[in-house]
Amino acid sequence: MSNSNSVDTKKSGHSFDLFDFMYKYGTLILIVLLIIFFSTMNQNFLQTSNLVNILRSISIVTIIGVGITISLSVDGFDLSVGSVASLANAVVISMFVWYQQPAVIAIGAGLMAALLVGAFNAFMIVKVKIPDLLLTLATMFIIQGVALSYTRGATISQNMIMSDGTYAEGQISPFFAKLGQIPWIIIIMLIVVVVVHIFLTYTKHGRYMYVIGGNKEAARLSGIPVNKYKILAYLLSASFAAIGGMVLASRVMTAEINAGGPYLMDAVAAAFIGFAVLGAGKPNAFGTFIGAVLIGILANGLVMMSVPYYAMDIVKGTVLALALALTYYKIK
């Protein structure tokens, strides 16, 4: 006779709850305050060109963060997205530069490489039952190494010198080169956010994913194919990491060593900040976008105020800690 839990219905009254209010609107208010602050400090902050610049700068973080959001929605966690972005970046550029392939094949190859990684993650997590965080940490290292080995530890760029002394002859297709430029890079980001938001909120599959994330056992006993959706989640998160990596490739037109790595932490931060946006209390694509906006504004504004780049991580980390405090203090 352990659980005689006769909790009464309706615990909370209707009085104004400051914490509740902050939980719901805190992130948005913070963004508004930051905008006001930065624009008073520097006239140029509110100029259209700067705002567009911010959006461009967050687009890759957002796309990768959306992938993480999907893995979080089934109560997973994909840490390998940064490495997968690097890999997709390397594959797509090499397809153009080394193998002179058209854009369709290059992009397809990048996606395929990512899906293989996603399938590996899913298999090890669902079948071998390794905890998500640990397995994707291992995958992160493996794929980082794979990407490095593939590029032989060098940057791939147009007209690079090959190992046999000749110049690489392949060119990046003009179509592909456009993807990383304004306005396309921003449009891609917005499409990703909107599509995933609709997917998670308005379709059966999204509902199942949240249900699985909330209580895996109850979901399973309701007849939901839990493993299938976990696999899907990891394939999707790898795919979005690949899209992020390829947009990055298009923006810099090279494949640098571990190019996607630095995006991991920002993307994780954006996804977790997103929990608290509008009181969602769970991972969601729109929230991840807002999280990325918050980080982007901070980074941009601080640079304008001549805060040195090496101090930037202090600020980002602090914001993440605050957002997590809001979310977890509420959940308890």
């Binding site: 006779m1 352990s2 659980n3 005689s4 839990n5 006769s6 909790v7 009464d8 219905t9 309706k10 615990k11 308005y202 379709t203 059966k204 599959h205 509902r207 199942y208 949240y210 249900v211 909330g214 209580n215 056992e217 109850a218 979901a219 399973r220 006993l221 309701s222 007849g223 939901i224 194919p225």
Partner: protein, 501 residues
Amino acid sequence: MAKNKLSMTDITIEFPGVKALDQVNFETETGVSHALIGANGAGKSTLMKVLCGAHDHYTGEIYLNGEKVSIRSPKDAQDLGIQIVYQEVDTALIPYLSVAENIMLNETVSDMGKKQVVKWKHIYSRAQEILTSMNVHVSPRKLVSELSLSEKQMVLIARAISKECKFLILDEPTAPLSLTETDELFQIVNDLKSRNVGVIFISHRIPELFEICDEITIMRNGKFIIKEDIQQTTINRVIEHMLGQKLDEQFPPRHANIGEVVLETMSLSDREKIFEIGINVKKGEIVGLAGLVGAGKTEFCKALFGVAKKVDGDIVLSGKKVKIRTPYDAVKLGFALVPEERRKEGILVHETVVTNFSAASLNNFLKVFSFLDFKSEAKKAREMIQSLGVKTPSERTIVENLSGGNQQKIAIGKWLVADAEVYIFDEPTKGVDVGAKRDIFNLITALAERGKSVIYASSELSEIMGISDRIYVMFDGRIVNEVMKEETDEEKLLLYSTGGN
């Protein structure tokens, strides 16, 4: 040896909403093994928790050798020489430490004082000494994680007697043990008795109490009923005392219209908890699955629903052999399970009432391309709230904020929305108030009248008697009896489910 006498008088303890113990008296002495028995919820475990200091808000007195003692913490009890071995042995052991370290845990944790260095030699030799005195052959250097359940129990008993031990409480020690392991345990109990330790033995298996115990105390609904010498009583008298006057629970009238066999299992085993289970359920029939806690009812329900890992044997549904590997398969075949662990398995606590109702049948609430039809989903939820009488502010309320009974209605309602053919209920009234209980009985009866097949698993025998048409009794993972409701009564059921026949 001088006998130590222990007596507890007028022990009363209340938990929010329940009076768990009501002026209970209990007496025993060292050198005797004393059985403490009662149906589920009678208060045996609570009484023993008071005795070993796990509850401190009781009223009443405890005397040792006529002297009033104060037991308000586990330390108090241990200082008086009262030790307990709980049923869940794993909660009290540290798996990655050795047997010796576990036995000597009290010494290394609380009796070190200012000493900083562990004397390994002493620990191993002392542990070996205790094990030898108990006649238990387990190496003190072995890791506890490598032990069998019965060996773990021995380690806990060894820990209990590693300090001065006057009274040792064993809470359902035989439940997980095999017959030979039980015999070994009994030898140890007899040995302890001869060393002037008083053993208090909680068990549901009445026949074995007659084998091992000298005295018996029976409790019912938090009250002391009787204390007797075990020689002077019989199994049937014990059962009568346990059940007492029957409370009239309100079961709906039954207009059974029973048809063909719908579901049949043939020697279903999960190789761990259930063996060779063969039952059948007919159309429109409510089949009760009686048995004590731990008899394997839950495991059987789960095996049927595709939750168990490895299941041998066949399941035949409407004349066709079916393979059920996952709950997904089971749901597709028309099974529905209302699991015992409601909050963990039955409902989605952090989701809304709507989401819970539609969780098992979301495919019925879709528009093109798997887009959700929020309107029809909410409409269905409002219908269900109405027809089940769920007390909730709105269909958008998070289920966590509802009472146990209302949560259970939702756990059941989800399968009504899904419209299954075979409904499996595992302890559906656990932690549910009286009003909601009656609603749940009505619901189940209504299901059967609509031609659904129902399996109702419960350790509450009065409920089984009240609601079922036909009853299977489980004991130790096996079906030990099949009876029609008219041919039996609660006493017989209790006898069967405690291993008698």
